[in-house]
Symmetry: C2
DNA sequence: CTGAAAGCGCTAACAG
DNA sequence: CTGTTAGCGCTTTCAG
């Protein structure tokens, strides 16, 4: 089955007149080897087109230098941005990114079970839920898990999120300050910690301020569902004057519907607020008020966690970072003059 | 260095009272093994939390089942879409996707040289140029290369593109039919085959029809550069009445500038046409006329090529698919009545 | 500083 | 059908 087409350390050793272990040492950073021997070996290796087989290396030290990344919805620019940042950070840290599609948070799909068979240094789930069976599999396989933009009660899994409670409360305060009377909440995926925290914080703040509870529709964090949900909201007789969307993707969908289907002046007749502050939110076409999640810092923390977990695979840590409200044209900041 | 924390086939064998090779066979699809023996082994393995080490397996059959994917700019939705499709297709084919960041097409960056040390089944470059040194490295490492949305004269590399010449000519015809007088071309990255083909086809058609050559600015296929380039075009005294942008990302940038900085009525005062037909192009906020590249078919072809190349690593193939013009509101289809 | 030798965990003949 | 035996290509003691 093996075609013996690859150049191996043996080939180089024979050609350079040294032992195979000398070749290995020449390619190992801290190894004891005479500078000129090393040089000779490297030259020979270059000439033969030799590359150390990382698979074999990983087999020995039990570490692949590969990080698995489960990605749910790439339709969401926030995760695209995160993936971009993460790929660069991991790359800089000498780690490889093995990506696999991961829908929903139900059963761990076959691919992820498969992926665990590599000796992953860590598994990062980008806004993908961690089922308890998957958590168990990872524990068995000694693969540390890091949830990104999600948390879990499962001990043993780490997580990196921003403070959704503070974010949601800040948005609620902003809307009340703007004098909005009929506020709606466009929810994300039910059962996700992200939606739960944002919804709870939002409702709690309104309640504390004596404001009525918001109308509620679910957009599943996705554009299509959010489009339908917004239509339902705007078709009501008691049409809301503000919609807090649990992420920017849904907020963009809401703007599209409000502006192009209902001809509403977004920012005056209807305030729309998102969450994430994706690059698109700043485009003049949307000018979306949004609560910014610090993606670069979140990714940095993720990579820091990965390094820590490589040393202590069974430890875990839950990181919460601060975000910030970015007010733009899609929301009214002050109370509109009567009439 | 090795902590011996993983359960191995030996452990399972001892526990189940069989040989280690029996365990191997239990996990190999077509292997000759008694059903009940297999069952017993699988149960024991499950209990101990055993997983075959794919690294070791790959070491033997010289094939990692991993496909490397070089990604340049994830700011471009077309590549996000492609990455999404590709991750699913590869997954369905039982292949893993090892992603790495790859800027420009100059020197092969360290990470990609590193990645080659895995026994990749193939290397897919998403709109990333293939330098001749990298091509050489891949040839030496026996890793077949597939360029996606790019071509190269380098023999040995395969490619999957859509017919840029036809696409560009179709757009030119559409603009001429709309009676446009001062046409501009917003170019992509200089030196990329993609831009070269689109520009040549576009200019050739105009020339053949006796129309003047277009104004030209470069937007490097990116939003920021395209924004600046559009400003330069629209600041001219002889402002163009149509801009063909070499991709949708630049077209969106152009629309933003035209509409929000110059207050132009896009589609009437100024026609803007893109290329790729990304999902966003269909949003009412943009309603962008664009030439659709068949991403699903292109990805399908890519995966088909990967399979073929696994069998015959040194062969290669260049695939060209057909696209289609999608006319929307950002361009005028018929000649505007005089006055 | 260097070579010989013993594996890492697994698959693939080879006998039985 | 199953156990034994060689390795895959590399790193890492252990002698020298």
């Amino acid at each position: 089955m093996n075609d013996r087409i690859f150049v191996t350390a043996h080939d180089v050793a024979r050609e350079a007149g040294v032992s195979q272990s000398a070749v290995s040492r020449a390619f190992t950073p801290g190894a004891r080897i005479a500078p000129d021997t090393r040089e000779r070996i490297l030259v020979t290796a270059e000439r033969l087109g030799y590359r150390p087989n990382l698979l074999a290396r990983s087999l020995i030290n039990g570490r692949s230098n590969i990080v698995g990344v489960g990605v749910g919805d790439l339709g969401n620019p926030f995760f695209v941005q995160t993936l971009q940042l993460l790929s660069h950070s991991l790359d800089a840290a000498g780690l490889r990114l093995l990506m696999f599609p991961a829908e929903g948070g139900r059963q761990p799909e076959p691919s992820i079970r498969e992926i665990l068979h590599y000796r992953l240094d860590a598994l990062v789930l980008l806004s993908v839920g961690l089922s308890s069976t998957l958590a168990e599999e990872c524990r068995k396989a000694q693969v540390p898990v890091i949830l990104y933009n999600r948390t879990t009660h499962d001990r043993g899994a780490s997580s990196v999120i921003s403070d959704n409670d503070v974010g949601a409360r800040t948005i609620a305060a902003h809307l009340l300050a703007g004098g909005h009377q009929r506020i709606a909440y466009l929810a994300g995926t039910d059962g996700s910690s992200t939606n739960a925290q944002r919804e709870e914080g939002f409702c709690a703040y309104l309640s504390e301020q004596g404001a009525p509870q918001p109308l509620r529709e679910s957009g599943q964090f996705r554009m299509e569902a959010a489009t339908a949900a917004t239509r339902r909201l705007l078709a009501r007789k008691d049409r809301p004057d503000a919609i807090f969307c649990a992420n920017d993707t849904m907020a963009i969908a809401a703007i599209n519907v409000a502006r192009h289907e209902y001809g509403l002046d977004v920012g005056r007749e209807l305030s729309i607020i998102g969450y994430d502050d994706v690059p698109m939110a700043a485009w003049p076409a949307f000018s979306l008020t949004s609560y910014s999640q610090p993606a670069p810092a979140m990714v940095e923390e993720t990579v820091r966690l990965i390094h820590g977990l490589r040393a202590a695979p069974s430890s875990h840590e839950n990181v919460v970072l601060e975000g910030a409200l970015v007010v733009r044209g899609s929301s009214r900041a002050v109370i509109r003059p009567a009439g």
